[in-house]
Amino acid sequence: MSKKTTQVGLRRPNDPPILILTSLADGPKHGHALAKDIEAFAGVVLGPGALYGAITRLEERGLIEALESDDRRRPYRITSGGRAALGEAVHDMRTLADVGAMRLGLGAMNRVRKVGLTTIGMAP
């Protein structure tokens, strides 16, 4: 992980902040929609305590922002800073995955990516 990535609190791929940013990269969502989406694409169940702990930190660091809403369920969206931080984290994870795949003799990372995308139902 690069120093910049860890400075904004993004460490492991299953860290709640990375999962939330990844989910919001697809469009704004409120708490419950976020939890459901994260469970669907990562298989990680984030309870309300863990979810809002991460939302608080991400908003504090300017990586996400709340949208105006009349509903009690306030949606959040990723900011440009959040996109940049997620991009850094994804780049780091991709580098790690590429090195791991190469050393395991799994060949081109494209194959690994294709399997991954198929698993979450996003294969082209």
């Binding site: 419950h32 309300p48 979810l51 702990g53 608080t56 009690r72 369920r73």
Partner: protein, 311 residues
């Protein structure tokens, strides 16, 4: 109690500022997640932990969301809380070590004497440091009462004053009673006296606890200058070093008496062995906890002063 009320109760773990910002949507999420069911215990624990972390952050004890000044204040108050543990541990140590030198061979007395002396002198210096801190914050306290009134700080101060007064009366009664008893009765021979001493220790602990809580509640409201906060931070770090000296002195006394006069350590009525008497174990645990807490606060203060200097 309705289910909505139960959800509302869960968010009390969080600080008021957090509840104001996220409370409504958090309760909505709890309703969406758990519907008509109870929140599982595991999730309750996560919420309790998460809420406590938010409280620590808003108090300036964790993270960097508060200003360096607030972090200096929070670290200093944490050290004050650690000092309260040391006051209690010191009381236990003082009571336990009464007349120790009379039973220790003269030739073997220098190490425990130095240890005991270090505890006494460091304790006195510690009290002076705390009193100096009171002098530093006194003008700000008077300003607070003049500008914002007595109402904001009345409750914790009156509560502490009441408990301290009750403990003082209890102590005076116990001392008068003890003066009418013989040495045998005072040292486990008289059951009622033997039973009332732990209650007295608890009342002293309560007085220390309420006084510290009042001091923290007042200090958090004080409008202190940057210079005043740095002075307080410096005193708090000095107090941490004093606590380390007290603990080292206690260990030196304990270790050397265990080596040269173990019979003295076994004199307590509840003693289970010669070298590990329960009173000293309790005092040791309190000191260890106090030093760990104070060290956490000192690191916080030192880093925050460093941040302020580099800004």
């Amino acid at each position: 109690m309705s289910r909505a009320d139960r959800f509302e109760r869960l968010i009390r773990w969080y600080p008021p500022t957090w509840r104001e910002r996220y409370g409504v949507e958090f309760v909505a999420l709890l309703e969406d997640t758990h519907g008509m069911n109870d929140v599982p215990w595991r999730e309750r624990l996560v919420i309790a932990k998460s809420g406590s972390v938010e409280r620590a952050r808003s108090a300036g004890l964790l993270g960097d969301s508060t200003s360096p000044n607030e972090r200096i204040r929070a670290g200093s108050l944490l050290i004050l809380c650690a000092w309260a543990f040391f006051m209690l541990a010191g009381g236990i140590f003082a009571k336990f070590t009464e007349h120790w030198s009379a039973v220790t061979p003269t030739a073997d007395r220098w190490i425990p004497s130095d240890g005991y002396g270090a505890v006494q002198w460091a304790g006195i210096v510690g009290v002076v440091v705390v009193l100096a801190a009171v002098v530093v914050v006194l003008p700000a306290f008077i300003r607070l009462v003049r500008e914002k009134g007595w109402a904001g700080v009345k409750t914790p101060i009156l509560r502490a004053a009441l408990v301290v007064a009750a403990t003082t009366a209890f102590t005076a009664g116990l001392v008068i009673w003890a003066h009418h008893l013989g040495a045998h009765d005072r040292n486990g021979g008289l059951l009622p006296y033997h039973l009332i001493v732990p209650l007295w220790v608890l009342s002293v602990a309560a007085a220390l606890g309420f006084s510290t809580a009042a001091a923290v509640a007042v200090a958090r409201r004080l409008d202190l200058s940057q210079r005043g906060l740095r002075a307080l931070g410096g005193m708090a770090i000095a107090l941490t070093l004093i606590m380390v000296v007290i603990m080292a002195g206690t260990l030196a006394w304990w270790g050397s008496v265990a080596a040269y006069a173990p019979g003295f350590l076994g004199n307590g009525a509840l003693a289970t062995s010669n070298v590990l008497p329960p009173a000293m174990i309790v005092a040791g645990i309190l000191m260890l906890f106090g030093v760990a807490t104070a060290a956490t606060g000192a690191v916080r203060v030192a880093r925050s002063i460093g941040n302020r200097v580099s800004q």
